[in-house]
Symmetry: D2
Subunit: 278 residues, 4 copies
């Protein structure tokens, strides 16, 4: 399956501001690209790329005063399979986890693991460990939290979500991530493209999406407490402890978002390359 | 100056539990060691060491049921100089910061940078950037927060400290770190040994200590909003975004601290080696 | 000046639910009414009125399943004067306050006075007590908090507003009320009708409005940190410690607001009575 | 049963400060007094008494600079019965509650009812309404929260207690009160004398105690999530929405508590009056 991926984002910049963008596909998916995955920054400016401590590809630049335009359009060859599922995947005891996985058990800004020890144990302590327990967490969050764009706020934490039961994508995932970590299951926040492929009714306008990953057996697996069903055409951009680590753009000063469109759709091979050449 | 460093820590362990300890001197100080810096774990168990994503030396093991005893006694050659001070050290604009420094501008569990943007700007936005501004932050926190062991609690955040004005070491540093980051000054939490060397009146029973580091010019500098004066014999153990990253011990299950002593004192070379051989 | 006041509010009620409404003009303004101030509840149901511990007129009823319609249309003779101002009004020392005023110095749900002692003192402790200090608080809140309906959320407290600097009417007033109380100035939350009379550009669609009252000299005075200028045609409905005490409607179960219009406008005497008879 | 009740409290007062004390037995128990219940304030100062909006007897005065001494010693004739229990007491539907009870369903500073709607329903929504449900709440709080004086802090809310699971008397009651209100059961915070009468092992040094009251059938009933068993010799001093309303002393300025003893014990009639005359 061929996916067209891209975005068109505009900011008004009142005065020059340093920015970091996580707007490329994740290094783990670079081999699937069928066209350059190039973040265009207009007006042109000096750009640097680097890999952060979580393994994400980041872009740095100084946005000039005026309108900033970030855009991209690329093609990616996807397996066409839904998110993999392995019902008998095993939770590892902490002592068996690889060193570099341990940090995904700890607290982060929006995931107050230290405040969820009792809550998580009461809700899921008696559920058999493994894939099924993570799925039970997803089911619970999916059923108990109500989605609504009007409930978004940048400072909302997992405990806020637990108490208020309203939120957007990221809120669902923060709560699920925190419940996992409180049970000593490594979990990390993920963001990327997620189109409506295979979804009978498109749920919402195109946007980047958030989901989360859980370490079971010997690898990370995709879970999504917001949609809570295996999806097609999910393309990872970044992972981190929570949304603070993987913001699409982080501005060190004022930058007012004025326009935002994301494209993530299946295309035929022919139309893909015709469009891309135009 | 020769320092004797060490600790004796006991836990009661109700059932086997995986632990991670950050109880060695920081890799940057290993060259100064004059005796092995060996974390003894009793009863003996399989131990692994690794370096975490912040560059700290970590030790992992499974503590068995019963009394767990962690101890160490080592010697370290110290310059004998106080914390370095450079009044004209410069704040770097974000675009000049090395890539790997950027993460110390972001949110973390106890440092809600996103909630301090206005507060930090109102208090310190008009102060000239550089060493003096960081010192102004230290002065402010030192003057406005009251120290007391009875005010310790594991979930206290920088905003809690800002509102309540009471805390222990870590609370002072969390508030100062957060104010720095909110002004786009990279800051990280640090922990280690800090004896009473050169202090007319010993302020408190021996304990590990927390301070923080700020990136100015082209390096990290030590600041301490708790003591707020250059100190002698500070020996770094770990740095991270906040206390959650550099807990002396993190237990993935129950572990009840029952005894805790820390040694950090100047010794003569002779007594040092005599004692160490005994 | 004659004011037409009223509202038309609809809820969808999934199952019968007890409600309390504070939707009448305050007892202190009853003498100014020129038409009945009658809350109509449709479909008809048994209604009881009572005065709560703050002196507000409250209405209780059980809303039946289906569409609930609350409406009112009345006339009120207003002085036509703007909110009174007395620049030399005095803050009373706590010991001179009447007994029944003391409770307006304490904590409430959205006004965490206990967390603002230092913040309030640092910002306003050096300002001369009296009217000017309360005005300084209003000026500060008005200048530092940004208005936007998208920032409304029912659980936002004064400290949230102080950190986030975004909010609606009630958030501005909660922050100002809390700063006053933290300085031992009695302050209470107020709600009512506030039209656009005398306002060059109508700032927003008609809604009920929130303001606050401060006890200086020997009486309560109106302040409004949101608009921060004396206004015409303000008609008090209720006062309390904070928004929790004076919600327009409190439902003890599900009640989904589906329509909401408020009328608060100046009318000529003739048109007033013509309209009212039709 | 005759009870001797009293206290001896000292503050250091750095500069004159207005205070309000709730240090008398509740008006509902005045008929049981067998000696004057007189709050002595030393050094002597002008004292006023009044009844607050919750029906508590309050005392106001200005404490002078220096040592403030508050003391009392009285006798009270008690029934000798334990807290009454009525297993079939009924929760009233909100519409049947007396007007003046409704306010005990609302939010207050330490009881964020608005954040507990889902939590309370999930935990206790399926429990049969009535006495048994309130008891189930007490049982849950009693079992899940750990007592310890070191966990006291003045700003801790019910949600903090729910997350952290540590606290003192007041924290247990705040959580239980909030869970009740979230289920539309009127609940209020109570404080007073509670000796160790009939308790095999005295649990703690003498102190004032907090409990809570719930409105079932047509009256308020005593519950105590901290001790969670009917007790003897409980003597009410004050009730309110939460601890903020019924603080033993509220100081509008600095007042440092330096000594604190409470007496609440059973005495024989003879010894009672002998002692009282001496």
């Amino acid at each position: 399956m061929m996916l067209r991926l891209g975005y068109d984002i505009q900011f008004q910049i009142p005065s020059p501001v340093a920015m970091v963008a996580l707007l490329n596909v994740h290094p783990s998916r670079v081999g699937d690209l069928r066209a350059p995955d190039e973040l265009r920054v207009e007006p042109g400016t000096y750009i640097e790329s680097f890999i952060d401590s979580f393994g994400n590809r980041c872009t740095r630049f100084v946005a000039q005063q005026g309108t900033l335009h970030l855009s991209n359009s690329t093609l990616l060859q996807d397996s066409g399979f839904a998110d993999p599922v392995k019902y008998d995947a095993r939770e590892l005891p902490v002592q068996e986890l690889p060193h570099q996985i341990l940090r995904y058990l700890l607290n982060s800004r929006y995931c107050e693991v230290d405040r969820f020890a009792s809550i998580a144990t009461e809700l899921f302590g008696a559920v058999a460990p493994g894939w099924g327990r993570v799925q039970a967490i997803c089911d619970w969050v999916h059923a108990r939290v109500n989605f609504g764009y009007q409930y978004a706020r940048p400072t909302k934490t997992a405990l806020d979500v637990f108490a208020e039961r309203f939120g957007v994508c990221r809120d669902f995932q923060h709560l699920a991530v925190t419940l996992c970590r409180a049970l000593h299951i490594p979990a990390r926040y993920a963001s990327g493209y997620l189109g409506d492929i295979g979804v009978p009714v498109a749920p919402s306008p195109m946007d980047f999406s958030a989901w989360f990953e859980v370490y079971l057996d010997d690898r990370w697996w995709t879970f999504d407490a917001r949609h809570n069903c295996p999806r097609f055409g999910r393309v990872l951009m970044a992972t981190g402890r929570d949304a603070s680590d993987v913001a699409m753009t982080t501005s060190f000063g004022m930058a007012n978002l004025t326009q935002f469109t994301v494209v993530s759709e299946e295309v035929t091979q022919e139309s893909a390359f015709q469009a891309n050449q135009s």
